[in-house]
């Protein structure tokens, strides 16, 4: 079978993005902690996933944001650039608009609190629960962290157990440790 030439494929993806009709554009970026799937809607960054296999993630994106989900690399260039700067140690805060549709109520509140935990510091599940006015919800906060749609930019790696243990991370504990080490200056990621 004749396959579509790469240049034509790229041209179509860009043209599709330029129509403004895409609900979500995504691409997979290589980073020092492995490939990440990055996705943006017209409102902003809506997903970062440690699972670089787009097949699973596009289904979930389609359910939340609409079916017109397409890989369109240039659309995530801003995200890619800010992440590169972050991993280089040149960026401590992200200037990206976020799209948190699909996360409402308590989850939304917690994620907004999470966004304010500063670079290089850690907080606990318990304190986030307390700040949100629900001190008994530490476990629920853990679940919300686990389902964080935009890890790294929403820094759930900065949330640890009350005894200082790392507890868990959607991308695996090794990555959590790596990100914390990067932020504390204990590590230069090549």
């Amino acid at each position: 079978m004749t396959s579509v030439p790469n240049a034509l494929d790229r041209r179509f993806r860009q043209a599709a993005a330029e129509t403004g009709l895409l609900d979500v554009s995504f691409d997979v970026a290589d980073t020092p902690i492995g490939p990440l799937l990055l996705a943006v809607s017209e409102r902003g960054l809506c997903r970062i996933s440690f699972d670089p296999e787009p097949e699973r993630e596009t289904e979930s994106l389609a359910r939340t944001f609409g079916v017109r989900v397409l890989r369109a690399p240039r659309e995530v260039d801003d995200v890619r650039r800010e992440l590169d700067e972050y991993f280089d140690g040149r960026r401590r805060e992200f200037d990206l608009p976020l799209d948190l549709r699909g996360r409402e109520g308590f989850s939304r509140l917690i994620l907004e609190r999470l966004a304010r935990v500063p670079y290089g510091e850690v907080t606990t599940y318990k304190s986030l629960a307390v700040e949100a006015g629900n001190p008994r919800a530490a476990r629920a906060v853990g679940t919300i962290m686990n389902r964080n749609p935009i890890p790294i930019v929403l820094p759930c790696h900065r949330v640890v157990g009350s005894n200082g243990s790392l507890v868990g991370y959607g991308g695996g504990l090794d990555r959590k440790r790596l990100l914390l080490d990067l932020e504390s200056g204990r590590l230069d990621i090549p």
Partner: protein, 155 residues
């Protein structure tokens, strides 16, 4: 009925599953050079219509009909003389696919797709088989049983 086949997949999956077949189809209709422009136009039209789809059945047949329509428009631009094989215009000025789509509306879906692609767009049975995800023989059978059903209804 398989639920999975009915859900509309993310556009990325639809595109990835159909781009090569659509491109090959357009190359056969228009030649390599013009197929490239028609390819982009086909999937842009598909993107525009995508969120209006009610189910995900026969998406390949759907995008093949778009591709064939785009190719017909291209053909009309290049060969404005009436009766050119590809544009399929008939005496009442409605393109063949429009007439046949209307006639075939009540056929079961697979038969309808086969009849429309065969008689509305003049696709070969092997293309129709590719469009419907079945064999050439199955496409021939679906079209002929669709035509029999239409004939019974019209007489």
């Amino acid at each position: 009925m398989m639920m999975e086949a009915m859900t509309i997949p993310p556009f990325e999956r639809f595109y990835a599953e159909n781009r090569d077949a659509v491109f090959a189809h357009l190359v056969r209709l228009l030649g390599r050079q013009r197929a490239e422009d028609a390819f982009q136009e086909t999937f842009l039209r598909a993107l525009r219509g995508y969120d209006g789809l009610r189910h995900g059945r026969y998406l390949r047949a759907w995008v093949f009909t778009i591709a064939t329509r785009v190719a017909a428009d291209e053909g009309r631009k290049r060969h404005p003389e009436p009766g050119a094989a590809i544009d399929g215009e008939t005496a009442d000025d409605r393109p063949a696919y429009a007439q046949i789509e209307h006639l075939a509306e009540e056929l079961p879906e697979k038969e309808r797709a086969a009849v429309v692609l065969r008689y509305g767009y003049d696709l070969s049975y092997s293309d129709i088989g590719a469009a419907l995800g079945s064999s050439e023989d199955a496409a021939r059978q679906a079209a002929s049983s669709g035509v029999r059903r239409l004939r019974r209804r019209l007489t």
